[in-house]
């Protein structure tokens, strides 16, 4: 056993830290730290800076222009970025579509789409979920019917994160309704400018315009936009779910959130003392910190196993559940920490819109973030789905 990073890993970490310290624009980090909405240009700026450093596609094979990081390097990069409050990398093109194209796409598709992801020509979004297909994704109903050299797509996708910025969408669509649900699904690439596509924002409980519904009415998609074979879509979706779940524990986000919580608790005063010295609040923070220390090591164990070539297994589900619970516990404490300031809620969710929050700079986002991050135990396979996977793996029933 050796809990330390290797010399190479430490050198890489120092590189990442130096880059973040020197290059990450302060105004971007401040926006992230205070959970302000980033616009499309913010993300594109950060992506371009990473691409200039050859770190945008850190996990891609070198053959496709990536840095071919192993699991430890990837972990280091993600954790350092999170703790430095860097903008997140939008994963839809880079970490979700790209691995599918590399594994299942044609040479033409790879040559055309992958460079456009790296240079920012395309912003992809994900068309998986539907109103009636949430946890039960295989029940999706959006159809693609082959007509000559095109598919005609009809249906509705939902929960499309940042779809308002996207010019492309990859979709799971039903191409055969006569077989069992999983067997009739295909993976299709669609241009958002195609006639018949209608995108409508979904306002979330905290007022964030983060996700969208997308409606498809007789949308004509060239047949060459099919990835892999027809009806092979479920295989690709599963491939992504089991092989590309990145940063599932969210240790870096949790650490950044805990650091911010501690700053707030040191500033807020209760009973004439800093809130951080209130024994009950200190106990709440200590418990989550101790849990996080343990989870960080659980995460490193999985990362080390992955770096040594082990296939991720039920550990992903465990990290998903515990990771989201810890992050939500931190968000909950942050909300508690700001006390009555949480009552001021200048959000687009309620009429009155973006008036400035009356409290200290840290106060405005506490309640909205607490509310928004209830999603993390729901999406990407809800915690209930994960518990089922864990139990079934353990019990073999």
């Amino acid at each position: 056993m050796d809990l330390s990073f290797s010399a190479e890993d430490i050198a890489f970490r120092d590189d990442v830290r130096a880059f973040l310290r020197d290059e990450l624009p302060a105004e971007l980090a401040a926006k992230v730290r205070h959970h302000k909405l980033l616009d499309k240009a913010d993300y594109e700026r950060w992506h371009a800076m990473l691409q200039a450093r050859s770190w945008l596609a850190g996990t891609w094979p070198k053959a496709f222009g990536g840095a071919e990081w192993n699991a430890v390097q990837r972990h280091i990069f993600e954790e350092e970025c999170a703790m430095a409050n860097a903008p997140r990398i939008i994963p839809f093109g880079l970490n979700m579509l790209a691995p599918v194209l590399m594994a299942f796409g044609s040479k033409e598709q790879q040559d055309y789409y992958l460079p456009r992801i790296l240079d920012g020509s395309d912003w992809w979004c994900q068309g998986y979920s539907e109103p009636e297909a949430g946890s039960d994704l295989a029940s999706l109903r959006t159809t693609a019917v082959r007509e000559g050299d095109h598919y005609i797509v009809n249906g509705q996708k939902t929960w499309t994160t940042l779809g308002q910025f996207a010019n492309k969408i990859f979709c799971l669509v039903r191409t055969d309704a006569s077989v069992k649900p999983q067997a009739g699904i295909s993976f299709l690439l669609i241009d958002m400018d195609t006639p018949g596509i209608d995108i409508r924002p979904i306002v979330l409980i905290d007022g964030t315009p983060e996700v969208n519904e997308i409606f498809f009415t007789d949308v004509k998609v060239p047949a060459e936009n099919l990835v892999g074979a027809e009806n092979q879509g479920w295989t690709m979706a599963k491939y992504l779910l089991t092989h590309e779940r990145t940063n599932i524990a969210g240790v870096g986000f949790a650490a950044a959130g805990l650091a911010e919580l501690k700053r707030i608790a040191a500033t807020e005063r209760s009973g004439g003392r800093p809130l951080a010295e209130n024994p009950h609040f200190a106990a709440r923070m200590a418990r989550v910190e101790m849990d996080l220390m343990a989870m960080a090591t659980t995460n490193m164990r999985v990362v080390a196993a992955a770096a040594a070539g082990a296939a991720p297994g039920v550990e992903s589900s465990m990290l998903k559940v515990k990771g989201t619970l810890i992050r939500q516990a931190i968000n909950d404490l942050t909300r508690r920490a700001v006390g009555p300031w949480a009552m001021a809620f200048p959000s687009e969710a309620v009429e009155g819109s973006n008036l400035p929050h009356p409290g200290p700079d840290y106060a405005a986002s506490a309640a909205p973030v607490y509310l928004n991050y209830r999603k993390i135990s729901i999406y990407g396979g809800s915690n209930e789905i994960q518990r089922g996977i864990i139990a079934k793996t353990m019990l073999g029933l």
């Binding site: 409980i205 004439g272 999603k375």
Partner: protein
């Protein structure tokens, strides 16, 4: 021992529920006697007991009403304590909507007040005052030569400025600053503290009953969704893991109902007994409200995250419970302190 509502209260609850379903505004609520139910006969109303308050606010919470009834009742109660009978009459008939401006910036849930009043002029700042936007009268706590006192301030007067943002529970929260604003002393100079304590206790009961009503609505909404939403070919309510979690939610809501009854029954007990119940009830209801909000969202899944689905304002309202009049830990500490001294 009798846990049933009196005939009068049941009738008020029924008519309130019916009217609120159609979306009642301030005038309609006043016509129904909502404010009257919060005042005793001696004060010009027809209620004023803990159970009167609980009945009214459970219905307001159930309907998700954002009318500032709690705030007007709190301020109106102080006006009554101060012998301002004419103003109280206007509150009860709905023509005056006052608000109590009390909390100050940086105090968290403590009330170490810094507003001062000298020679009929009041200066200082009040924070996150719910319901102040559009209020007809400000009742303001401030230090005067005699100690903590109450003052009536015209919100439109010179030296008063008000900045409002939307509030987590609906309506608006305001920052109010006073710069030598003209202020009229009401009630006993230096004698405001016990009046405030009693009326904040009543307002805490109102908030808890409101939360209880909101929880009932959320419970029904969640049960409906569990019954009708299908995944994997069956209603999600048929999944045992969700059933058991819903059962725990339902049990805790019953706990919250009992906590509200306990406080309603002890609202006019001696201060130490009253406050022990205030703190026990606020702690239990605050805990339950968070649990119900979080579990109802999780049991629903993604739909509950959207503003378009009716759960969202109720979830925010439930979370907001813990951010007014002292949170879970603040009340737990007070409960412990009151127990140790008892």
């Amino acid at each position: 021992m009798d846990f049933s509502l009196t005939e009068e209260r049941r009738m008020l609850a029924d008519s309130l529920r019916g009217t609120l379903k159609r979306g009642a505004d301030w005038a309609q609520l006043s016509d129904l006697g909502v404010q009257g139910a919060l005042f005793t006969e001696a004060e010009g109303g027809f209620g004023g007991s803990g159970f009167d308050i609980a009945v009214v606010f459970e219905e307001l919470g159930r309907a998700g009403s954002t009318e500032p009834v709690l705030e007007a009742g709190l301020a109106g109660g102080l006006l009554a304590d101060c012998g301002e009978a004419a103003l109280v009459e206007a509150v009860i008939d709905g023509s005056l909507r006052p608000v109590f401006a009390h909390d100050e910036p940086g105090n968290r849930y403590d009330t170490d007040l810094r507003c001062t009043a000298t020679d009929g002029r009041l200066s200082g700042a009040k924070t996150v005052v719910i319901g102040a936007e559009g209020a007809g009268l400000l009742v303001v706590s401030a230090r005067s030569s005699g100690g903590l006192s109450l003052f009536a301030v015209d919100p439109g007067a010179e030296g008063v400025s008000l900045r409002s943002v939307p509030s987590l529970s609906g309506g608006y929260a305001s920052e109010i600053t006073f710069d030598k604003a003209p202020a009229r002393l009401i009630g006993p100079e230096g004698g405001a503290q016990p009046l405030i304590d009693q009326r904040i206790a009543a307002a805490t009961l109102a908030l808890c009953a409101d939360a209880l009503g909101a929880m009932e609505t959320v419970r029904e909404m969640t049960l409906d969704y569990l019954r009708t939403r299908k995944q994997f070919g069956r209603p999600i309510g048929s999944f045992q893991a969700l059933q058991h979690r819903m059962a725990d939610v339902v049990i805790e809501i019953e706990q919250a109902r009992s906590a509200v009854i306990n406080l309603a029954g002890h609202l006019h007990a001696a201060p130490a007994v009253r406050d022990r119940h205030v703190s026990a009830t606020k702690n239990v209801v605050g805990r339950t409200a968070s649990l119900v909000a979080e579990e109802s969202i999780q049991l629903h899944g993604g739909i509950a995250m959207t503003e378009d689905y009716a759960l969202a304002p109720f979830a925010r309202r439930l979370i907001a419970v813990d951010h007014r009049f002292g949170d879970e830990d603040w009340h737990m500490e007070r409960f412990i302190a009151l127990g140790a001294s008892a």
